[in-house]
Amino acid sequence: MKKIIIPLFLSLFVFASCGDDFDEMNKSKTSITESSLQAGPLLGRAMYYGSSADHQRNFNLFDDMYAHYLSPMGLGGTNQYVYNAGWGDIFWRDFYTARQREFLEVKALCEGKDDMKAVSAMNDIWNVIMWLRIVDRNGDAPYKDAEGNYAGMGNTIPYNSQEEIYADLLARLKADSDALSNTDGQIGIDNYDMVYSNDFAKWRKLANTLIMRLSMRVSGTSLAETAKTYYQGAKDLAMSSASDYARISCDSSVWGDYYDRTYYDWANTIPEDCFMSVLNGTNKGYATGVADPRRAIWFEAGDLKSTTGNQWDGYPNGTIENGTDAAVTKAHGGNNSGNSSSYARLNCSTKEGFFFFDFHNSANQNLSWCYATYSEALFLKAEAILRGWDTGDAESVWKQGIRASMDEIAYFITRSGGSTTISSSAYNEYVNALPAFGSSNEEKLRSIAIQKWIALFPNSVEAWAEIRRTGYPGVYDGTVELPMYNSGAQVEKGNIIQRMPYPENELQTNEARMPEDFRSSGSKFKYRTQYGLFWSQAALHHGGTLKATDVPQNF
């Protein structure tokens, strides 16, 4: 019997020590490798995730507040300039580890394919939008090398200056616009183009509108002359109608997307007092006495009259300390107990609302995230006229911008079956009640900037950038000290936030390459969010930082 058993046993050793099928076994069966990548699912994800996904932590808790559009009522902290890295670092993280990779992968897929030049340009334009957010939030950033061979770079990634990045982004947009000048025979990305449904002409308009935006941003810097040239090449190719808006439809069934969760849960979407008082026509620095016709589309009135007797109250940013203000704690959007908000809130409850959604309907097309609009192009043009970059009557272009803004809202609503449009008479009543356009360039710019700020809503990313660049609107009009401060803040008391801090990941893994002043031993580290970016006219005219009481100076 031993004769059988022992060879049998020894054969087990032979079997045990081989593992030829191990390589195959250790390949995942439920994921794909690089060879299966396609442009649509990559670029589509870049579009959706670069905008509405994780919206609260990416946008609402920072830009929405810094732009003074919304207040995170009940949530002390970020509205008092205390940075929460667990939220604020997410955009940077996802940008470098996902958006940028998606961009590079799509770029590689388009390479050498004659019918994918348009897709390549779309991909590039989208990437510029993403880069703009990084550079406008943080200033200098890893740019050139991050674009290249990321995997091999390890933890030693050099930085590029804001100026370098801006110059390159402008050049890229110009090249994209040129590439889109002839799109015969070009294929798209099917339904993954959630911005323009493969309408290449509109992508080209977007590229040129962005050129106007970027060049105006650097109009007060050493790049001004180059920017002027770019502007002049773009102005006639930019958006030309309200229907040219660039927007993405959000999906209210996706948890955490856009305003659905924030609205219902945490009341982070109460309009900010400053914004609301401007819409109400009661802001002392911009008193019109007439309610803005856009107000009732963006927002709805509080159900109960608040102590001031105004159902259209906004909530001032920065005052609440962990909900200790008893008068406001119950003022809470989404409250189902019958005691509803005493403050105005995002208009989510009627079909006419800009943000209309209904959580029984899984995919409501009305939710949208806006990137660029015709009205913005008009306000840019109005400013360009003041700067001598463009010709025409600044005031009438400014009024066209206001009209376009009102038209855009109607587009969003009619697109989903609503019928509200803003009538000519409502427009006229509003425009006639506005404070005078102004006589000096500085006064005119203030008029343009405030209307642009209103029209940009809800694009708080761009709104915050423009507030920092121009100093307008001076949110409390210089008469009240900004309350957005607490002891943990990363700005000195009285200053207005100018940038986001570098993520903790950067400090931990790449500190030696960061700008010296912003390293943990650097001179600007302690109050690192108060120093203006290179294009911030408002801050630069006041020594690099800006107080709420400082008077803007743009010319």
Partner: protein
């Protein structure tokens, strides 16, 4: 009648019994304990039986030196975290391996509901829960890698070796045993709350506030009701919301065993049923187990062993734990809100038929009606687990034998959820249903050829064997969301439907051999060697080899052999031992190649997702290197025993995921790096103070001290994050080079050089930078037991203790900022002691509300040390003659015992909660937090064993 419950009396061990004590070691090989060069500690059936705990792992608590057990804060059926000799792995791979009757047993949990236990999710326990304590004959704990060098990869953290009862009786008859156990677990340990101040802010009544910073409560003060402002209610809440919301848990366990067969062919069949009602109302667990073992000696040279074990566990409506679990919400309910009002008004009465949740505030993610949660979160899990083996034993000659064994462990798990109502928190989801099914299979095919021979003074043994381990995991998940059809609770009714699947496979082939040489019954040398080939490692690093050596010298036997004199009345037994081992560890499947996953994203798009962790095609196996020295002595006819071990384990080449610079395109990267040392002392001491015909009184002490150090991380990483909590506070848990593993970081108050707090102009103390505020590692842990018996009556008490170690109480923090914690009871204006920035004493008074809502992390760090009476039992074995007589021969023996567990904390620092029962998952970093667990319970019960 054979009774397997074991003896209550402390065994009167004689010298020769000490020498012959046999323990089960690696690969199921029984060895004389004296010949082992490493520490093995046994827990016997009777120690398990008398603990009265529902699970085997709970029963091990306090019985083994160096075994640290943390219970989950999730009540019955929750997970347990077991670590032997300290944490050694940064990737949370610190659990020991379980082996039952020589077959690896899968204890993988069903932690499928949340990524991290701190943030909600449901604890569906681990496989260790399915081991019926009734079936267990003994548990051998092989502590270090030395003991486990033959088990390979998974045994690096030690092995819990379980031997089940085999049945059989000398007379060859069939015997039947019944045992029943009944327990009650009242809600006993929960956060201390203040009972003076009601809903409101700034000392004033505020019926729309989320806080309890209001006025003094009084039943005479009438205020508008939160659910209907036209109704007036007293400004007075429920005195104890915890006992009001939670209930007394209970369990009943019934087991029937049939066994028989003669000496050579025993069999045993047990059928058991446990019915457990958790302290949280809708949760009920139902477990049925069948265990069959049989041995058959077919011929002189051939025999068959069979084991088949089937367990079906049904978990009904297990509830969310940690943040977003019931305790999390109860902790902050203003003290003037009654629990009855929440129960009666969980739905908004003004919108009848719509079933809209209502609450005193919100409702929103931070404020949910706890009674609504019970009705909304319906779930049921069913686990079918089959575990078994068949072994063929060949005895070729007296010296040579072969054992070929196939072990099979199959787990089928299904969980379904339904949320019948809309939910203000998960808008866009509910009503909805979700279902997940998976199977997990592990097969082990093993052969072992063994040879033994005695040449003169030498006992020689050699074995060689091989094992093939195959692992397969197959998972299917689906959900139907936003169901519009009222009452429909199935996937197809969803207006959006998602599904996904996942498959994971792994194989490890191994060959091993070992040799043992015994010389003159006093000196023993063991050598082992093993080589593994793992499918999860790259081709070049797939094969890894690891050896071990151990030496045992019986000083007393040597003295006898060489005629050296010593006092035999004093010294019974003395031994010194030494061992050294290396153990290799592989990794999880699919870490070598970066792949992209796909998801159905917003608006129905299929998106391609980037991998966030960079794969590493050159991973190497982890290696740990350890040695231990120990000595064991028995004195005075074994009335005194002492066992002391010193160990040192160095874990190198850890496979860990390290943070990358984001601009590199990935968040993390798999690398081999790091070096972690655990060294420590383990001491077991036992003494019988009295030992005579009727009485025995004795004690056993277990003590262990572990020093843990992170020697190296990586070249450019000196702090490795094990986990963090943001949003509430910025608490991080780190491995820091040069420090012990598990430093807790958070904010402290700013202090001047003299240690005075620096107070800002607003009267609030200023916050300093984030820094170390605690360390999860205890200074030492242990237990002592007192055992006394008089005739057939036995009394056992077990005390367990931990000294040091820190814990951050999120439980108290979340209550303190809402003014419900006991700590906030003093509402006088306070002047915080300290100086302002110019150095003069602070004089600015602030309210308690202002102080507590701005309190920083250091306020909520607690010493996790404790001393508790963990077990107390009294048992009586009836005289067999008496039992026989009164039952007219039906019952042959009977035993009755009453017991209690987790009875009393004699020392404890946490504010009402327990320091050792608040775990929310089994990761290292979870041990740093007390994150709103279900309340802790005392357990009382009785058990009855009848032999027929």
């Amino acid at each position: 009648m054979v009774w397997n419950g074991g003896s209550v009396n402390v065994t009167l061990t004689e010298d020769n019994e000490l020498l012959d004590e046999v323990v089960v070691t690696a690969l199921g090989i029984s060895r004389e304990k004296k010949s082992l060069g490493y520490a093995v500690q046994d827990v016997k059936a009777d120690q398990i039986a008398r603990s009265g705990t529902a699970t085997l792992t709970d029963a091990l608590q306090g019985k083994v030196a160096g075994l640290q057990i943390n219970n989950s804060g999730t009540g019955a059926g929750g997970s347990t975290r077991i670590v032997l000799r300290g944490n050694s792995s940064l990737s949370d791979n610190n659990e020991p391996m379980y082996v039952i009757d020589g077959v690896p047993y899968d204890t993988g949990g069903h932690d499928i509901d949340g990524q991290a236990g701190l943030w909600g999710g449901v604890d569906r326990a681990s496989g260790a829960f399915d081991i019926n304590p009734e079936d267990v004959e003994s548990v051998s704990v092989l502590k270090g890698p030395t003991a486990a060098a033959l088990y390979g990869s998974r045994a690096g953290n030690g092995v819990i070796l379980i031997t089940t009862k085999k049945g059989g009786r000398a007379d060859g008859k069939i015997g039947v045993t019944y045992s029943g156990k009944f327990t009650w677990s009242p809600v006993s340990y929960y956060l201390d709350l203040q009972d003076t101040w009601g809903q409101g802010d700034n000392g004033e009544v505020g019926t729309t506030s989320e806080n309890s910073w209001g006025a003094r409560m009084s039943s005479g003060t009438m205020v508008p009701a939160w659910w209907d402002s036209s109704v007036q209610v007293p400004y007075m809440g429920t005195k104890n919301p915890f006992t009001e919301y939670y209930r007394t848990g209970n369990m009943q366990s019934n087991n029937v065993t049939i066994q028989g067969g003669n000496e050579g062919n025993p069999f045993r069949l047990t059928i058991g049923h446990d019915d457990t009602q958790s302290i949280i109302k809708p949760t009920r667990l139902d477990k049925t187990s069948i265990d069959f073992v049989s041995s058959n000696k077919v011929t002189d040279w051939f025999g068959i062993d069979v084991k088949a074990n089937y367990v079906k566990t049904i978990g009904n409506n297990r509830q969310t734990r940690g943040a977003y679990g019931a305790t999390y919400y109860i902790n902050k309910i203003p003290r003037s809100i009654t629990m009855e009002s929440l129960k009666a008004n969980e739905f908004d009465a003004s919108r009848p038929g719509e079933y809209i949740e209502d609450n005193y505030y919100g409702p929103d993610a931070e404020h949910q009606n706890v009674y609504f949660l019970q009705d909304q979160f319906n779930n049921k899990d069913v686990q079918n687990k089959f575990f078994g083996m068949a072994a063929l034993n060949f005895q070729f000659t007296k010296d040579l034998k072969l054992r070929v064994k196939e072990g099979y462990d199959w787990t089928g798990f299904t969980v379904n959820y339904s949320w019948p109502y809309q939910d203000p928190v998960f808008t866009g989801h509910y009503p909805g249903v979700e279902e997940r099914k998976y199977t997990r299979i592990e097969e082990n095919t093993e052969a072992l050829l063994s040879w033994n021979h005695k040449y003169g003074d030498f006992d020689l043994g050699a074995s060689a064997g091989g094992n093939i381990m195959r692992y397969h995991y197959d998972d299917l998940w689906s959900e139907g969301r936003s169901i519009a059809l009222q009452g429909a609770q199935f996937i197809a009714a969803g207006t959006t439907i998602h599904a996904s699947n996942y498959v994971s496979e792994k194989q490890v082939n191994s060959v091993y051999g070992f040799a043992n040489i015994g010389y003159k019954d006093w000196l023993y040398l063991d050598l082992t060697a093993r080589n593994d080939w793992s499918s999860t490692l790259p081709k070049d690093n797939r094969s890894y080899f690891y050896p071990s050596v151990s030496l045992s010298a019986l000083l007393t036997s040597a003295a006898d052999a060489y005629g050296i004199n010593y006092n035999h009345d004093v010294i019974d037994y003395g031994k010194v031992r030494f061992s050294w081992a290396k153990v290799g560890k592989d990794t999880d499947p699919y870490q070598l190649e970066s792949t992209y996953s796909t998801t159905t994203g917003a608006n129905g798009y299929i998106f391609i997702e980037q991998p966030t962790t960079m794969a590493n095609a050159n991973l190497k196996p982890e290696m740990s290197d350890s040695y231990e020295i120990g000595t064991e002595w028995h004195f005075f006819k074994n009335r005194l025993g002492l066992d002391l071990t010193y160990y040192n384990t160095v874990t190198k080449n850890q496979i860990m995921s390290v943070a990358m610079n984001y601009a590199s395109g990935v968040q993390n990267k798999w690398i081999n790096a790091g070096k972690i040392t655990n060294r420590g002392l383990e001491l077991t001491f036992n003494a019988d103070f009295i030992r005579n015909r009727n009485w025995t009184v004795g004690t056993t002490v277990n003590f262990s001290k572990n020093w843990n150090k992170v020697n190296e991380l990586t070249e450019d990483l000196k702090m490795y994050e094990l986990g963090h909590m943001t949003g509430y506070s910025g608490i991080y848990v780190y491995a820091i080079e040069g420090e012990s593993l598990g430093k807790i970081y958070g904010y402290k108050y700013r202090r001047d050089d003299n240690g005075n707090k620096i107070i800002g102009s607003d009267g609030l103390p200023l916050r300093d930078a984030s820094q170390e505020i605690g360390d999860i590692n205890p200074n030492f842990t242990g237990s002592f037991s007192l055992n006394a018996s008089y005739k057939n009556l036995g009394l056992n008490a077990l005390f367990s203790f931990q000294n040091g170690g820190d814990l951050y109480s999120v439980t108290e923090y979340s209550a303190a900022i809402h003014g419900t914690a006991k700590r906030t009871e003093n509402r006088d204006q306070m002047v915080v002691e300290g100086v302002n920035e110019s150095g003069t004493a602070n004089t600015v008074a602030i309210s308690a509300q202002k102080y507590w809502t701005n309190a920083v992390d250091e306020e909520f760090i607690y010493n996790a040390g404790y001393l508790k009476l963990s077990e107390l039992s009294l048992s009586y074995s009836f005289n067999p003659d008496f039992v026989n007589r009164i039952t007219k021969g039906v019952v042959e023996n009977a035993r009755f015992s009453v017991f209690g567990s987790n009875l009393l904390y004699l020392v404890k620092h946490t504010p009402g909660t327990t320091p050792d029962g608040s775990l929310t998952d089994t990761s290292i970093y979870a041990t740093a937090f007390d994150m709103c667990p279900y309340p802790g319970s005392r357990t009382f019960g009785f058990s009855l064993t009848l032999g027929f």
